[in-house]
Every structure is written in C-alpha cells, then in structure tokens.
C-alpha cells in the first residue's frame, strides 16, 4: 500500500469544526503540502497565519488542564484523554520472536482504533519491529522540525550485559514503544502526520516511500543557510536552553548514582549469599540449634531474592527511562537550535531587505514576510509543545520515582515477612519445649 496513504490524507479541505482539537493544530493544513499538492504554502505544520500568540497560550492552558485531570484519575494510562476529545487510540503489545537465516528479531502488534477521516478504516492491526519505530521517529523529526518528538527506548544494548530476548527486556522495550506511540497519537499536530498514518496502517512498511512524503517544511528548515547569526534570542527560549542544560546535568548525576547503587547492591548481594552459606554449613555440627540456623539461612536467602529483583527492576525500568529523557533533551535542544536558525535567517533577510529598500524603494519582499511567519509559527509551536512536555515530564518522573520507592518497599516487606515468620516459629517451639519439659 504505497500510494494509498497520501490519498487518505489529501482530504484536507472540509473538516468539521469538532474535529479540530485546538487552533494550533488546524488539522486540515499539515498535509496540504504533500504529494501532488500544488499549494505552495510556506509549508508550516499549520496554515494559520500570524496571530498565534493567543492560540499558543490557550492551547497550552488546555493541555495542562487535560493532563492534570489525567494525573489524578488514571495512573495506569497516563495518556488517557477525556474520551470526547480523543479519536485516535493506539496500543503496542503482543511481542513475538522471529527467527530467520539472517537475523533474529522481535515484532510487536500495533493496534489502532480511530474515527478520523484520514484513515480508510476504523481499525487497524499491523506488526512492527524496533527499526520501524526508529524510521517513524526520524521521519517525524524531519517533517515536523518545529515540534518536540518523543524519544524511543535506546537502540543499542550491550550484548552480554542485557539479554535482548529476555522476557523482562522485551517487556520494558514494548512499554516504552507503547508510550512513544501514545504520545505521538496524543499530539495535536504529530498525530496527523502522514508517516504516522503509514506506520499505523501499511501492511508492509515500505520505508523508501518516506522520501515522497517529505514535507516542504522539512526541506525549507533544513536548507536554512548557515550564514545567519542570531541577534537576540527571546528570554523564554534562553530560559528553556538553560533549563535543559541543568536538567541534563542532573539526569546524568542521577544515572550515575543509580548505577553506583546497583553496583554496591550487587556486591552486598554476593557477600550476603556467602554469609547465608555459613549458617547452612554450621547446621552440620549442631543438633538443638539446627532449626534456628536453618531458619536464618533461609531468611537470608529470601532477602537475597528480594534484592536481586530490586536490582533487575532498576536496570530494566528505571535506567532506561532516565536515558530516554537524556535523548529527549538532546532532540529538544536541536529543535531550539533550529528555531534560532529560523530567527537568524529572518533577521538576516530583513536587514538585507531594509537596506535594499532604502536604496531603490522596492516593497518588502514576500520571502521576508514568509520568514517572519515561519519564525512566529515556530515559536508558537515550540511554546505549546514545551508546556505539554513539561507536564508529561512531571508525570513521568513522578511515576518513575514513585516506582523506585515502591520497589524498595517491596524488597523490605518481603524480607520482613520472612524474618517475622522465623521469629514466630522459633518462639512457638520454645513454648512447646518448655511445656513439654514441665509435663
């Protein structure tokens, strides 16, 4: 299904007002510049003209309100939107291993339910592998450079350290892919991207087809001449950049601490196992003390098991999410840089145009106006996405850290239960012995 996809998306004209999520998305526009389109719009992700400042703030307010509701209501499905608004639901599940002569890999089932007209059918079910998700992300970055694209779980895993086909690893990766896709589907602009549509619907994802779908936006942003220097970056974007730098640093520190803890815990575990072994070996030379010694050895073993689980969970659930965010920050910084370039270009052209105008009284060229539009739309998109990102980030880290606390609590609870039952056992035996002695 190669040419079918663009066809579905070209119906950009008549869109009922209810299907427009918020002014900024202006859903009819993103695809008007794609295949076959003779519309030579400046190719922004939305066609809305300049006055984007208020939509940006309403949209961001809107987003924040939505997500705050979610945080209280449904912890398990953080992206559960209020159902009246959502018309696109995606899920990633059912991992399966494929073995071929060349390679072994995992595919996941991607299920879609939608009422959007851009989709031919209301339901889809396809199988995709990590590579496909990677492809999608690259395409989204290229075609929507003014937006923040969510991160994917790490591509490479050190062989020998983590088993790529172990149940836990696959499970973790799948959850991350599911989160990625849901974030994209949730996004007012990205969710209408043709590449996403292809990803969700195509029986065989022909990745070369991507070239044809590349939007003019991507091209124009990419081909910004590098020669322009930025005059004055607006304060809010400076603040974003600084925040990202500091946050990046902190995430790095947390990653290091978590790894250090894992190392210390692993060494503790080694010693603890040996320690339990000494109790077991002592049993041989005792008779009355047999039971308590065996009991202690048993409790130590149980504690070891709990610690092992804790370590595995931290490796599989905690560290990958941290690293995802580091990648996320990098991609956001890139977007900031592109925004700067956009602004620089505009300023450069403007300056040139002003000089020329002064010389020969020609009117302000259209390109300069288009540049201005571009910058202002970029700024608006970015601000809206930033707010959305901040909100998601807050939720994600709340979940991450709470999960870490829960896992530690579980580990202690397991250990406590074992020791308490040993105490009961030994004290009951003591009472038994004493009563039988006096009888």
């Amino acid at each position: 299904m190669s040419v079918g996809a663009p066809r579905a998306l070209a119906s950009s004209g008549q869109k009922p007002i209810t299907e427009i999520l918020h002014p900024l998305s202006a859903a009819e526009e993103p695809l008007s510049v794609t295949v076959g389109g003779d519309k030579q719009e400046v190719g922004l992700t939305n066609g809305t003209p300049v006055e984007t400042s208020s939509p940006a703030s309403t949209s961001s307010l809107f987003n924040r309100l939505q997500l705050d509701d979610d945080l209280e209501a449904d912890v398990r499905d953080p992206y559960a939107d209020s159902t009246e608004m959502r018309d696109l639901f995606v899920t990633v599940d059912d991992p399966k291993k494929h073995v071929s002569t060349m390679e072994t890999y995992i595919t996941y089932r991607v299920s879609t339910k939608t009422s959007r007209v851009e989709f031919d059918l209301p339901e889809y079910c396809v199988r995709r592998r990590y590579q496909d998700f990677d492809w999608l992300r690259i395409k989204l970055e290229d075609s929507q450079p003014t937006h923040l694209i969510p991160p994917l779980p790490e591509k490479f895993v050190m062989k020998g350290v983590v088993d790529r086909f172990s149940e836990e690893f696959v499970e973790t990766r799948m959850k991350a892919l599911d989160k990625f896709l849901k974030r994209v589907a949730d996004h007012p602009v990205l969710s209408f991207n043709p590449h996403l549509n292809a990803f969700l619907t195509a029986k065989d994802l022909n990745k070369r087809q991507g070239l044809a779908l590349l939007s003019k936006v991507g091209e124009s942003v990419k081909h910004v001449a590098g020669g322009y220097k930025l005059r004055a970056r607006p304060a809010e974007f400076c603040a974003m950049g600084e925040y990202l730098d500091t946050f990046n640093q902190k995430l790095g520190t947390i990653d290091r601490i978590a790894q250090r803890i894992l190392k210390e815990q692993s060494e503790y575990l080694t010693e603890l196992r040996e320690y339990g072994g000494v109790y077991s070996s002592w049993v041989g030379s005792e008779d009355e003390l047999r039971r308590p010694l065996e009991g202690v050895a048993g409790c130590v073993t149980t504690s070891c098991g709990g610690l092992e689980d804790l370590g595995d969970n931290m490796t599989l659930d905690f560290l990958p999410v941290l690293r995802e965010y580091v990648l996320y920050l990098e991609s956001i910084k890139n977007v900031l840089r592109k925004r700067d370039q956009s602004q620089a270009e505009y300023e450069g052209r403007l300056e040139a145009a002003i000089l020329r105008k002064q010389e020969d009284r020609t009117p302000m060229p259209l390109e300069v106006e288009k540049c201005q539009d571009k910058v202002e739309c970029f700024n608006a998109d970015l601000k809206a996405d930033w707010e959305r990102w901040q909100s998601n980030k807050r939720h994600d880290f709340k979940q991450l850290l709470t999960g870490m606390a829960d896992r530690n609590i579980n580990s202690y609870e397991k250990s406590q239960a074992a020791w308490e039952s040993l105490i009961t056992l030994l004290q009951d035996k003591q009472t038994e012995d004493k009563t039988s002695e006096t009888n």
Binding site: R260, Y275, F397, W419
Partner: protein, 435 residues
C-alpha cells in the same frame, strides 16, 4: 518454677515488642534465678569505665581504662533496703589474671571467656582502637557478662579468689600469686606432646574436642562474613545520600516539582544516616558470637587437659610395667627384652651379688613409688573425666539456649531494619506523589 514463668513470658511476647534488649536482659535474669550460687547472694555489675594514666612496669607513662565493679548483697535488696553498693576499680589485665587463675585451678571447667583484648572482625567504620568509646562500652558489657557467668557457675562461684576480686581492691594480686597457681600451670609443650602421643583418650572427649573445632571454625567464619556484609550494606545506604543532594539541586530549577523533590531529598539523607544505628545494634550480635568463639577455646582446653591426664596415666602405667619387668629379669636372670645391662653382663660377666641385691632393692622402691603414682594418676584422670563431663553437659545446654536466643534477637534486629527502611521509603514516596 520461677524459671519457667520467666521463659513463658518471653515466649508470649508479641513479635513487635520483643527487642534485642529484652533478649540480653533475659539472659541475665536466667543466670540469677537458676544459680544457687554467689549471684543469688550478691548483685554484681560493671557500672562504668574510666581512663587513667600511670607508670607501668618499665616506668613508662601509659593510659589505660579501669572498670568499676559494684556489688550489693541480695538479701538487703530482697528486704527492700537500697544500700549503696560496694565498689572497686579493676583494669582488664586484672580480669585476665583472675581468669588464668581459674583456668589452672579448675581445669575440668569450661571457664567463661573474657571479651576480646583488641577489636577484631571490624568492618571499616569501627576503629580498632582500644580507646574508642564504643569499644570501651562494649568491653564493659563483656566484662560484666564474664563476672555474671563466673558468679553463677555452680563450681567457680565458690572460689575465694573470685570473692576477693569482687570485694578487696588492694592486695588482691599478691593473694592470687600466693596461691602458687602459676607453678601448677601445664606447659604448652607438655600439653601438645600429650595430644600427639596419647593412646586411649575417652571417645566422648575426642568428640567434644572435634566439636570445639567446629564451633570455633563456624563462629569465626560467621563473624568474618558478617563484617563483610556490614561493610557492603554501609556502602549501599550511604550512596543513597547522593540522591538527597541531587534532588535538592534539581528542585531549584523546577516549578511544581520543586517542593516534593526537596523533601524527598531530605528523606534520602535520613535513610543514608539510618545505617549507623542499625550496624551499631548489630555489634551486640557479633559480641554474642565472639563469646562463643572464645568459649570454643575454653572447651578445647578441658579436652586437652583430659588428654594430658590420660597421657600421664599411660606413661606412669608404662613406667611401672617396665620397672616390674626389669625387676623380674634381674631376679630370675631371664632376659626377655634387650637391655644394655644384659649385654654388658654377657660380655663382661655378671655383676657381684651385692650390687644385684642393691639394684633389686632400688627397683622395689621405685615400683612402690610407681604404683602410688599410677593410683594417683588414675584418680586424677577419673576425677577430671567425671567433673569435666558434667560441666561440658552444662556448657552444651547453656550454649544451645544462648545461641538460640542470639539468633532470635538477630531476626528481631532484621525486622527492625526492614521496618525502618519501609518507613523511610514510604516518606520519600509521599513526597514524590506530591511532585
């Protein structure tokens, strides 16, 4: 029986109420109630420790610690009076002297050990310094424990020197030396030689000796492993303190998340700090294990004494037999065994009858002495076996009870540690939820 009453009440205690402290007090109570001994008549405790300076034997300045021993008559307490305790100061070396005296004087008793002279099996935080206040405190407890054990022992508690030790500060050392116990001490060489050369030691004692090796091996292995575990656990907890710092730094750049992160950071700091008390508490468990590590040595000493007495008996018997044989040969002229005298007689002719008579007479005297010696040694050996066996049984029962109690206390400590951990992380979780 009072003993039963006390133990039933311990057993009925709710898990959450049974603390390690209860375990230790329980042990002390048992000793008081079970003993028809000194301890019944006198309350003993090692109340304090103090630093002193003075000149030592080679006239050099040194600092040492002295311990205050307080005693009060039990009957006064029972009558409800509360007299001031008698007290005196003793240093560690005096305790050692007392114990050495007991070891020599009662070689059939498994003599309670002293707390260790130097801190061993330390994990990195504890200094191995004898002047370290924690070490001194634990030593004070150990010395008190030693005195209570000795004073509640059915045999040891009656000793006059012990009584003197507890009541007369000055001149005690002279009195001990006057007993001449040092002369009675068996040389190590003698004891070692007996171990190798004894032919028929009592099997029960050999088994007990083997058991003492096992006990020593396992307790020392356990102490070493525990120290390593403590070291690692310390590391795990302390690294979590780093979360405290980074959360604090991170909270500075956050709007809504800031407060939650900041408070969570404080809880992480508290978590990291909590390990100090946990490990300090565990030292008591280690001390209980150490006591039995040293007890194993005392048990082995009793077994070795048996080997020695048995060996001496065998030697005396052997000596008597050989003398009787010589006598027989001399009187009958029949040489059964090779001897130089026999050889020289053959080569150079027999000796004169008067000489022969003299030698026969001498041999008869020696035989008489030898028979006395065998009788004495037999009595010594049998008495030792009888008394030692009784005390070894007593020791076994005590060991089983004490170590069982120690293991239960250890479990209680572990439960407490888990509860603290859960508390800390729950606090942090609450802060995370407020982020």
């Amino acid at each position: 029986m009072a003993e039963d009453g006390r133990e039933e009440s311990v057993a009925a205690d709710d898990d959450s109420q049974h603390t390690a402290e209860d375990g230790r007090n329980g042990l002390n109570n048992t000793m008081v109630e079970e003993s028809p001994t000194l301890l019944r008549r006198m309350e003993i405790c090692v109340a304090e420790a103090e630093k002193r300076s003075g000149k030592n034997a080679v006239n050099m300045q040194e600092t040492f610690t002295v311990y205050l021993i307080e005693t009060r008559p039990m009957d006064a307490l029972a009558e409800g009076r509360n007299p001031a305790p008698d007290s005196l100061w003793r240093r560690y070396s005096e305790f050692e002297l007392l114990r050495n005296y007991l070891l020599v004087t009662f070689p059939y008793i498994v003599v309670p050990p002293l707390p260790e002279k130097r801190a061993e099996f330390v994990w990195h935080k504890l200094s191995a310094d004898n002047m370290d206040p924690d070490f001194v405190e634990r030593r004070r407890v150990g010395l008190e424990n030693f005195l209570l054990r000795v004073a509640s022992h059915p045999v040891l508690s009656n000793d006059k020197i012990l009584h003197h030790f507890l009541t007369e500060e000055h001149g005690w050392k002279e009195v001990v030396y006057e007993t001449g116990f040092q002369a009675k001490a068996d040389s190590r060489l003698k004891a070692l030689s007996a171990t190798f050369r004894v032919r028929n030691p009592d099997k029960r004692f050999m088994d007990m000796k083997h058991y003492s090796d096992e006990l020593q091996s396992h307790t020392s292995q356990l102490l070493r492993a525990r120290a390593r575990v403590a070291d690692r656990l310390y590391g795990v907890y302390k690294v979590h303190g780093n979360y405290g710092r980074v959360f604090s730094e991170w909270s500075a750049i956050e709007r809504e998340m800031g407060d939650g992160l900041q408070s969570a950071g404080h809880h992480m700091d508290a978590y990291a700090a909590s390990i100090d008390d946990i490990l300090e508490e565990e030292e008591h468990y280690a001390d209980q294990l150490k006591e039995y590590l040293f007890y194993a040595e005392a048990l082995r000493a009793v077994c070795r004494k048996h080997e020695l007495t048995q060996f001496e008996l065998e030697m005396a018997t052997q000596d008597l037999i050989s003398k009787k044989q010589q006598h027989e040969e001399l009187s009958t002229g029949i040489v059964r065994t090779f001897s130089f005298k026999g050889m020289t007689n053959k080569l150079f002719g027999q000796e004169a009858p008067e000489q022969r008579e003299a030698r026969l007479k001498l041999l008869e005297e020696l035989i008489e002495e030898g028979e006395e010696a065998v009788k004495d040694k037999t009595v010594e050996c049998e008495e030792h076996v009888e008394k030692a066996w009784v005390d070894m049984q007593r020791f076994k029962e005590q060991k089983d009870k004490d170590l069982r109690e120690a293991l239960i206390n250890y479990a209680v400590m572990q439960v407490s540690m888990c509860k603290k951990g859960i508390q800390m992380w729950s606090n942090a979780k609450e802060c995370f939820l407020k982020m």
